[in-house]
Every structure is written in C-alpha cells, then in structure tokens.
Amino acid sequence: MTAVRVIHATNRQKGKGSVEIMEEAAGLVRRASAADLCCYCLGTFPFVSYFLLFFSRRSGAEGCAGLVSDSLALSFLFLWMKYWQSVYASRLLAGVRNERKEFLLPCRQAAVQTVFQPWSLFLLPLSLLLTLPFPWCFAFFQNVTVLGAEGDVRTVFRRAYRQSLLFPAQNLLVILFVLNLSLIVYLNLCAASFLIPLLIKKLLGIETVFSRSHHFLFTPSFLLFLAVLTYLCVDPFVKAAYVLRCYYGECRETGAHLLSELRALRRSAARSAALLLTATFLLAAPRYLSSGKTEGLLISGSVPFDRKGVDAFPGDPVP
C-alpha cells in the first residue's frame, strides 16, 4: 500500500515546465541533422500527399469507386509514416543520450508500430470524447513512437505506459501549448493564403486564380490542406517534446543523464587528446628536424637514400 502511494507521489512530481520542455524541443529539432529530418519527411510526405488525394477523390465525383484499394494503400502509407517517425524520434533520443545514431532492427520496430498505432485512430477520438483520459492516451501513443526501437512489443508497451503516467501536469500543459501553437500556425497559414495573392496582385499586378475569388478558402480540400501543413510544421516539435519527456522519465529511474554526461566527457576527452597529439607532432617535428637529430632515424634504416651530392650531416665522421 505504501509502495503504491510512493509510486503515485513520484508520478505526480512536477518535472520541468512545459514551456521549458517546448524550448528544449525546439533546440533539439534545430540541432537535428539533415538525416534525422529526412527520416521524418520520408515517412510523412507520402502519407500526407496520398491522404489529400484520397480526400479529394472521395469528396469529388469518384465517390466509392476504388475505395477498397485506396484505403489499403493509405493504411500501408500510415504504417510507413509511423515507422519513419519512430526512426526520427529514436535518432533524436540517441542524440540526447549522446549515443551513436543507428538503424536498429527495422522489422521489430515496424511490427511494434503496426501493433499499436492503428488503435490510436480509435482510442484518441474516444478519449477526446471522454475528455479526461485524453492526455494519457496521447502521451502513450507518442511514447510508443519514441520508444519503438527499445525492445519487443511487451517491453515497449510497459515502458510507454509507465512514461505516460509520469508528470501529468507537465503532459497536460504540453498538450495545451501544442494545441495553441497549432491554432496560431493554422490561422497564420489562412491569413497568408488570403493575403499573398492580394499582395502579388497589388505589388506586381499579376492576377491569379486565388486573387480573383476568395471562395477557395471555404472549400474543405483547401482547409484540409492547411491543416496538413500545420501538422507538418508542429509535429516534429511534438515528437521532440515527448523524446525529452521520455528521457527525463528514464533519467529518474536509471540515472541515464549521468551516463550521457560521461559519454560526452569521454568523447570530448578523446577529441582533445587527439588534438593535443596532433598539435605536439606538428610543433615538435620541425624543431626536431632542424635540431639535426635525424641521424638516429637514418641509421635505423639500411640506406635511406643516395647520399651522393648531399652535404654531410653534422654528426658524420670526417673521412
């Protein structure tokens, strides 16, 4: 009973502030390499493009024709996206831990995502309807993406569940922050799509389809396009925020931050030792050669080169 109370008390600890977490997430995304961002784009762009096509086909004249094959293709692209997002998140996590970024066990990672992520499409709307369990559900599925490469299905489930219970206040504030950010980005994109054609018309005098009428702003396809753009802008930061949450949760249990700092120290020590050695060699070699102590080097070999026509070395015996 006491142990349960202790666990609940530690879970309720505040952790870092949500703004601080989001700032760190922004820093993490900015520090991410091009390969990391490529991983994200490689997974997300095909799904998003096909989803827009699917939407325009279904709401257009085609109706239900080819719906079975379209939805199957969309399902596989969704799984493809989740796999690459998991790769992106695990690479960010490796960066935070100061580990090497590697592609590990793609089959297992894909299987983990395929087992869990489809249920997010059911459970997230349901939890949103019930309101209260939404933050935990959202955190759980984000954690599955982040920890997808950390083990088999059971291990990932257990760890993602445990991490989703940590710092509930922080989790809720991060979600509210992300919601506000998404809304602001969406409104900005709406304003930009309304104003840019007008500006082009006023400043350059170029008439476009968009400047002739603003009715395109009210079409569902265009509104969905803006929503998709908003998702693409905000989601990398959300993934980075949950990477940090998982990392800090892990640090509390295992002291991973100490190992991470030790790794960074070891790496910097090795780098500075290599620099020191190079500098010593570069500085010492010319002085050593100019001091005339090269005799030993020459004697150690049999005949280094033809010495005819070469001035006698200072230590040579006089013939």
Binding site: F54, C64, L67, V68, L74, L79, V115, H215, F218, T219
Partner: protein, 80 residues
C-alpha cells in the same frame, strides 16, 4: 533408483508454459508461437487501419464541396 511418475509430463507442461509465457505478443525470442501471435497482432492492426480509412472514405462521399453555403460566403466576400 525408481523414476518418479509424471516427471516427463511435468517437463512437457513446463515447456508449454515457457512457450506461452514467452509468446505473449513478443517477437524475436525464437518461439514459433510468439512469431505467429505477433503476426496475428500485425494483421489485426492492418485490418483496423483499413477499416478506419474505409469508413472515412464512405463518410467523405457525403461531404459537401463547400463548408459554407454560397449565400453566406457571398455576403462575406465578393462573389465572382
């Protein structure tokens, strides 16, 4: 020494238990059953996903081409 009865049976049941314990939606531990269970979970996931997108497609057929009716949009903006 006389062999105790039921040792073989107990050994077999232990093996089966091990297999079942190891296979609870776990992949890659070498048990064929675990692989089968994981593949089944994967297939269920794909089916769930397909059914969600299929239902979405059925719903989208009824989405109107404009969110706001032309009358309201015409009041707000210049109609071409």
């Amino acid at each position: 020494m006389r062999k105790r009865p039921g040792v073989k049976f107990r050994f077999l049941s232990g093996k089966m238990k091990d297999i079942c314990r190891g296979s609870a939606i776990r992949m890659g531990n070498g048990h064929p059953l675990s692989v089968v269970v994981t593949l089944f979970a994967v297939a269920v996931g794909v089916f769930v996903l397909w059914s969600v997108f299929y239902s979405l497609g059925r719903v989208l057929v009824h989405v109107p081409s404009r969110v706001v009716p032309d009358g309201i949009a015409g009041l707000l903006l210049d109609k071409p």
